[in-house]
Symmetry: C2
Subunit: 386 residues, 2 copies
């Protein structure tokens, strides 16, 4: 490779630092880190220790205007994801946006519109879990049509445990003003995206959630959502940061198969025929269709963030596919917004919902958001936590 | 044993026939079948083939008045469970009632009042799943207090598959008039009872359900319920008769442990300390409390219906404990009634709920219940189906 893509990173907290490290370690060979921006000078120094003599900025816009970068990773708190992504695109700087795409769909729509207007800018979303061979295989099987339609989806994703220290480690964390929500905005965006990526978007959402149920925080740390899909299928999505040893079990029941992803293992039970065909013919009141467990071949690849960044590099240099197009980020935000709105209204919400109403309701909570006391600043090792 | 308890069975369809067989085969040595009652003469003949020269009645009351029986199993359609249990108790005939205890709590309260007035009559409920060592151990662990309080309960019990033939095999099946509901009244009463037996009763119930989603029936065959408990814990209960290879996975998250019952295996992850204690002290934002998987010793006993009947015999002869006191049947009926009422009202229902309202709403549906066409009578082998 003759020339590397000059990479800037906006925000070098937990995630941004991790991205700088990956590039500095040579694991994203299309890139070289040339600049970073952060409000906190000590974080800029820490980034220099990882990446050597790079330019540093306390003002991200100055970095974007510096001419030092061709591409930029946006790793700031969620409210500013869309804002900085837009600033990048307007300057023809390729952008990789951390999840979630934004806090509310209105701002994500604006970002997507700017992306539409700048098709030469490569815009990706950091949905690193889409690189997991497990979920890629699930999607392939579900979307292939060979098993008919989905009937029931069930994701118990409570393995996002966080002790109180996590929430105390940043003044923006788990506040309406700083994050715009809790587990739905910070931890679960991965699964919200995978859920819709594999099974499609539901039509109706009914959510129960608890604020500060397990922690001293003002936003949700426990969520149970029921959904219905266009075809009448139903689903449940349960997430929490309070279960010290939670579960990650994703089951999809289809006309012709049952798929379960649990503990990094995919189990596929393939039926001899679609249930509805069997049911019509059966003459034993307690019979069931024959089935066999498949030996599922996974390709074993699970490159996570590095894979997302490398695919982005390929897209910039050679037009090869992204892991996740940036514009797809709106789907997960739609889901989390619908869940919050359902809880706020105390009723089922249909998708599409009233996005202005959501925004107004969110802003009420932002206005009442309390400033945190006793914040204990820390950049923690995020290995294995996303 | 000098003298056997003379047993009558009201209703010798699938379940009643199975009880006659167990006693005739000598697996319930305290009992001998002396009489059976059923509206259908051909079923009486079939019972005679199993049990030899027994008295048969097409009128159950005549059997109760005959002086031929000391104890009676009630295995008729659900609406008549309470009615016949009451008729037994009034005649000082010990009674074992099939689940559910009734279709609506009002009738179950009446039955329980008659039981209170007749303490010398041994009244048991056929909660055969309570004999399963798996659930007995779960209950022991949860109720012991050593793991603190429950936080989240999650039962995916979709392994109740029934093809259309099952529903076509009886004109009372899966009708408002005949059963008063679907999967909640017929298949899931076992798990509704175990759920409350192990975890206690919830305070709030919010249910989504579908009628005839997978079958040509007028009642629910797919149910998703969200509950909240007094202590703030939440739960989900999902059941269906449409998943040809469904799941039976029951997870309980507690302060100090996670318990999972799946595929007749109990897994217990015991935490080094309660999560809330760990959370207060932790200084790693992504840390979690230590935990170890226990080697759970089960006694291996799972005598099911035979165990329930034998315990009932012991209670009659020697005053030893029942598997399930008949009066406890009201708890599962309360749960299923709350679920239906929540669906009918389209909102959350608090327990206790308005039982008159429930009854009125049920009777509206009974009034609109359609007579089934194309009924294909059959008595099927129920082995492994309950």
């Amino acid at each position: 490779m003759d020339k590397k893509i000059r990479l800037g990173v906006i925000g070098v907290g937990n995630m941004g630092t991790s991205h700088v490290r990956h590039v500095a370690d040579g694991r994203c060979p299309a890139f070289e880190v040339t600049a970073v921006a952060d409000l906190k000078p000590e974080r800029l120094e820490a980034a220099k220790e990882l990446a050597g003599e790079i330019a540093t900025f306390t003002d991200a816009i100055e970095m974007l205007d510096s001419g030092l970068i061709d591409a930029c990773i946006v790793a700031v708190p969620h409210y500013d994801h869309a804002k900085y992504a837009i600033e990048c695109m307007k300057r023809k700087i390729h952008v990789m946006c951390e999840k979630p795409a934004g806090v509310y769909t209105k701002q994500v729509r604006e970002m997507n519109a700017v992306s539409e207007a700048n098709p030469d800018v490569v815009f990706g979303m950091m949905f690193n879990q889409r690189t997991n061979c497990l979920y890629r295989k699930m999607r392939e099987l579900v979307q292939s049509g060979k098993y008919g339609q989905i009937r029931r989806t069930n994701w118990l994703i409570t393995s996002w445990y966080r002790p109180q220290f996590y929430y105390d480690s940043g003044d923006w964390r788990a506040t309406w003003a700083g994050e715009g929500g809790g587990v739905l905005l910070n931890q679960s965006p991965h699964q919200l995206d995978l859920w819709q990526w594999i099974c499609g978007m539901p039509k109706k959402v009914h959510t129960h959630m608890q604020y500060g149920h397990w922690h001293d925080i003002e936003v949700e740390d426990d969520v149970t959502t029921y959904v219905e899909y266009e075809n009448g299928a139903t689903g449940v999505f349960i997430t929490s940061t309070g279960d010290s040893h939670g579960t990650n079990r994703f089951e999809i029941q289809m006309d012709g198969a049952k798929l379960i992803a649990e503990d990094e293992k995919l189990t596929v039970l393939e039926f001899d025929e679609f249930e509805q065909e069997f049911s019509k013919k059966a003459t034993n009141a307690f019979g069931s269709v024959g089935a066999k467990e498949l030996e599922v071949e996974l390709d074993g690849e699970n490159p996570q963030h590095i894979g997302v960044v490398n695919a982005w590099g390929g897209a910039i240099l050679d037009g090869t596919p992204l892991v996740a197009d940036g514009k797809e980020g709106i789907k997960g935000v739609t889901l989390s917004n619908a869940m919050h709105l359902s809880h706020w209204l105390g009723k089922e919400v249909e998708i599409p919902f009233d996005e202005d109403l959501f925004y107004d309701e969110l802003m009420k909570r932002v206005a009442g958001s309390k400033k945190k006391e006793n914040v204990r600043e820390a950049v923690s090792d995020t290995s294995g936590s996303y």
